[in-house]
Subunit: 240 residues, 4 copies
């Protein structure tokens, strides 16, 4: 079987600006994620915001089966042309995994058609429990438990400004009283999109084995299948 | 506008067996619910388990636009023939509001096609917060807040053995660490079904104004519309 | 009950450019639609492309419960600022009914997050039969039949570049061999959107009583409900 | 990778009663389907109605990853105990592919919660075109075209008495004027279900390569994944 080609994109600013965060992710969040995906048998590369073309020129995207996206404090720095290229590739079948504060990215807004920036948030190191509400979903495969407990995370709360998910895999509980739809699948064009909430930069979330399993499963789920050829536009002749 | 005809069905055993519960609901849970629905302009009647035909003979069901269902400790006492009558009427367009432990009723199993008895539960008087995740839904109309706080309730937890709701209106948070899909809409045949979690018999939940608003809205939402006539079965002739 | 305030927007070019089309819609497509909506008890106004601000300045949109949209040959002439204003109002709860070739409008793309321009089309005066696949839906209420037959219409065919509808009410059959998801409901933010396929400018589609019934129902369905107040953004305090 | 274990169940009456049908399926419909699934790398067995326990005793079901179901004129002969065993296994994760007139089977009714027997039908050898409306779905993978044309088939028409599909993959067009949701995915408990319309016994539908591809894909899609362990019932202790 051919390896899935994954590009892990990271804003890559927190790690350069904070020693604490750099200590958690010495190779950057992108390096950490690419590491466990590679260990799972995927062909990985990384890209970051301040590279030319935000690290995502057309040829890189054309060679990408699934794009993983982590961004937080510089969504506005992502070129509109980059957003357009990513959007186009998702419509053509590229998978997209949007992590944590990536909910507020330009590409998430573009693909959802709603104000996905909208949610409640609080940095109070609350406990988060992600409950799996669709255990048969491929994205939950192989998890050792029906819940993932993160002792400290940023809190997100409803209402979350997303369309109703095509499949809702996880709902999070927070010790401060919030709930959040934290694992959401969408189909857009030929592409599949998974939004996954965990991953605040000040906690070692992406070192958690269960979190790694979910992201690995999500990449497999979002990898393009060999879709039938389709025709759109003017069809002058009837079929019958 | 014609009044909506609602039949409120209650097992009506707890209130007869426990003075504490009778003190909360002196006219029975059915009496309480019928009371606030009538005050909202509906034409109500009540029915209980140990009446002839479980209080739901065909003529009562035929005269019912929306049936509200509360049962807990005697699901097995409901006649299969009653379940069949209710099922048939839902397919024909009668609305059905299933409350609290009604998730484990025969009719809920029958209409969902899954083991709806399955969920976690605990009677520990945990706090429940119901968060509205679809504020534009008619069932949330007029609520004074985006959340409903119940200081003490029975805890229910995921995984809940339901099919994916056609519309998910509320998700509950519990102080013990659980989440629960607590307000779920389904379409079955010509009927609309709303499952709503709150209502443990030992707490005065149905006296809560916001809970009353949700149930009132749900009855309105589930009331049958004037559907177009449909044809099924053998159609010997083509349409063109 | 307060009247629903509807603004019917039309590109209004075909009617000025073609005597044939003007003969079908002497008051413009917008005039025809506003007419039957007014007769149904709504408060209507109209707006057209080449008015200042495309006829949709902020104050008009602020006074609009539901916006009906018909456009075809000049989608590119709609100002981006107009699209932004309409988008913003939909997120806030304004209903939107997109008709026929409005599938290719900027606002439809913006709200769906997909290439909604994509579909098959052919102007061969094929017969179209719209089959109602969700007879219990409020948008089908009061229709005299389970199908609507249009003797001549433009053909649209799948694959249609939309996300999976939240509710699919109609599927069309065409004599040339195509099928099409022709009545599609979506929830976006606090707003409800209904896409309805019929309405090619060269046929008197909007004079059809059943088509008028569907659009009238859709406006009622999409009218904003009184949603609970919601809080998003930074919430410094826990709820418990 | 471990082979998927498939049991192909067939009523197996038509083939014994009609020389014409026996000529199309000399090894029975079950033999034909098991044949191409085996050729696709699966471990197959067959079972038929008039075997002991309808050919589906507990040990056979326990050793089945995905069950394929074809029945037509003898749904009533299937033991209720068999239905119960199949239902139970689906809730536990067994996949189920229901073909053609299997829509009227006891197990389909049981799992859907609606009158799935309801649809229009006509044996007039109309042409059927199955249009793929979700080309990115794994069940459409590898198809050579966006549509499957069957020159002669039994006609089915809407309204079809099913709940809204969790995923709708195919919509059929018929030359007599009908449309039909002909490829429908459902999640029930831990199991995945795919209903696929084609397969009237008097036409060689299951010899069609594209139809075989869809069924093969569906079996792969419905094969159980390794779900996380879940806990339901009384949980005396809070998680936090």
């Amino acid at each position: 079987m051919k390896k899935i080609k994954v590009t892990v994109w990271n804003e890559y600013l927190h790690e350069l600006q904070s020693e604490e965060i750099a200590a958690i992710y010495p190779e950057g969040i992108h390096g950490c994620i690419a590491g466990f995906l590679q260990a799972a048998g995927m062909e990985t590369r990384t890209a970051t915001l301040r590279q030319v073309d935000n690290g995502l020129p057309q040829d890189v995207l054309d060679a990408t089966d699934v794009l993983v996206w982590w961004g937080h404090i510089a969504h506005g720095e992502v070129d509109d042309a980059t957003v357009e290229r990513v959007y186009r590739r998702v419509q053509q079948g590229m998978g997209l995994i949007v992590l944590h504060s990536g909910h507020a990215s330009k590409i998430m807004h573009r693909l959802m058609g709603t104000d996905t920036v909208e949610l409640k948030w609080r940095e109070s190191s609350d406990k988060e429990i992600l409950w799996c509400v669709m255990p048969s979903h491929p994205i939950a495969a192989g998890l050792p438990d029906e819940k993932i407990v993160l002792e400290e995370e940023e809190t997100y709360g409803e209402p979350f400004g997303i369309p109703t998910p095509d499949e809702l895999v996880f709902i999070s509980w927070f010790s401060g009283g919030e709930v959040f739809r934290s694992g959401c699948c969408y189909y857009r064009g030929l592409g599949r999109i998974f939004y996954f909430k965990p991953g605040h930069e000040t906690f070692p979330v992406y070192h958690d084995k269960a979190i790694q399993q979910v992201i690995t499963n999500a990449v497999r789920w979002a990898a393009p299948s060999q879709h039938p050829p389709t025709v759109t536009g003017h069809v002058p002749e009837a079929w019958v």
